[in-house]
Symmetry: C2
Subunit: 221 residues, 2 copies
């Protein structure tokens, strides 16, 4: 999160890209934490230290701003946390396991579950506006396609013969999305690990009582 280097009086320096980035940073964070409708552009202006005129110059409407967040930030977040790791992994299953583990570890470390950016906005905006819906649907589609492609690559290497790539990809994305939904609501990342283990082939019942780590609110809202 970039912050402005203290405005000394008298002089001004135009920095359109920097300002745009600052607004997107703030909007992304606020949409994630509070949601679209609960985030007022007044709050965003204050948080980004930006005037109304400047904001309006870069994003004429709130919808335009949200659309930019979806297309530039949410898509990138899915790419970074899911698509790239899966592609880089030795196999699809390995990639999925890695992502679940990484995310669960992150949540446990920061002690607060903000939820999946894509799902958060998808629920609030999919029915609100067709432009939102289309943009969000495209991200879901790319997400599943990346996993399905990886499964197909596994299959060409002789593995994962028994499964359907598209269906498995849908299952993986759905499981993660739903698990994050519960983790957010319960403020407990344990369900993520539960889902991952249940997803593994030949899952064995847990011997000992599993630990419950109820997280405490801390991170900035």
């Amino acid at each position: 999160m970039t912050t402005r280097p203290k405005a000394l009086p008298g002089k001004r320096t135009n920095d359109p890209e920097g300002l745009r980035k600052r607004v997107l940073d703030v909007a992304e964070a606020s949409f994630q934490a509070r949601g679209y409708h609960a985030s007022s552009i007044g709050d965003l202006m204050a948080a980004a230290d930006v005037t109304g005129g400047a904001l309006h110059h870069h994003f004429p409407t709130k919808k335009a701003l949200a659309l930019a967040v979806v297309e530039e930030r949410v898509a990138a977040a899915v790419e970074e946390t899911w698509i790239a790791p899966v592609q880089a992994a030795g196999s699809a299953r390995e990639g999925i396991r890695k992502v679940f583990d990484t995310v669960a570890a992150e949540l446990e470390q920061q002690g607060f579950v903000r939820g999946c950016p894509l799902n958060n906005l998808a629920h609030e905006l999919s029915l609100a506006d067709p432009d939102f819906r289309t943009a969000l649907a495209g991200i879901f589609s790319a997400w599943r396609a990346a996993i399905a492609d990886k499964i197909r690559a596994d299959q060409q290497a002789g593995r994962e013969q028994g499964i359907d790539p598209q269906r498995f990809a849908a299952l993986a994305v759905a499981t993660y999305s739903g698990a994050m939904s519960m983790a957010k609501t319960e403020q407990d990342s344990a369900v993520l690990r539960d889902c991952l283990m249940a997803l593994e082939p030949g899952a064995v019942p847990a011997r000992a009582k599993r630990r419950r780590r109820v997280l405490l609110r801390s991170g900035t809202l």
Copy 2:
């Protein structure tokens, strides 16, 4: 959805339960379709044909109204569409299959995906207020518990020996939640069926190209 029997002038009949029900009907539908923040109580008043004084008498704040919707309606919806069918089914897996099929069929028939009421509100309200979060988390918990109990019953009957009840329940709920999330965003129920089939043990790749039924907007918003 109950509607008022045309207000003839001069006379008035107090019907507190009926009025309360009408408000909850309208609020439930609007929260589902537009979300909490996008639903103004003014709109709700108009839709329920209720005055401000009457609404305030039954629900002093918007939060109180939403809490009532969650506790009385959303919980009942999960009970009706998930918990009861699973308990009534011959086995947990059979119940899950049945629910997925039923819901998918309903969506295809009505041609529009409004999403899961619980998840819709959970995403928007979990971080907004601890009371909301607690109420919503309780519903998720009961949902998973019902499935886990059914699995345990199966295991006592000698079936499903290889799996962990709690983890499997988490997987089932997460898969459904995530699938509905995608179905809503894509306005296509196909992903629900994909997830169900991928969830089945020993899932076999689909032989033919699966059909895609992109739904058209129709239902009342």
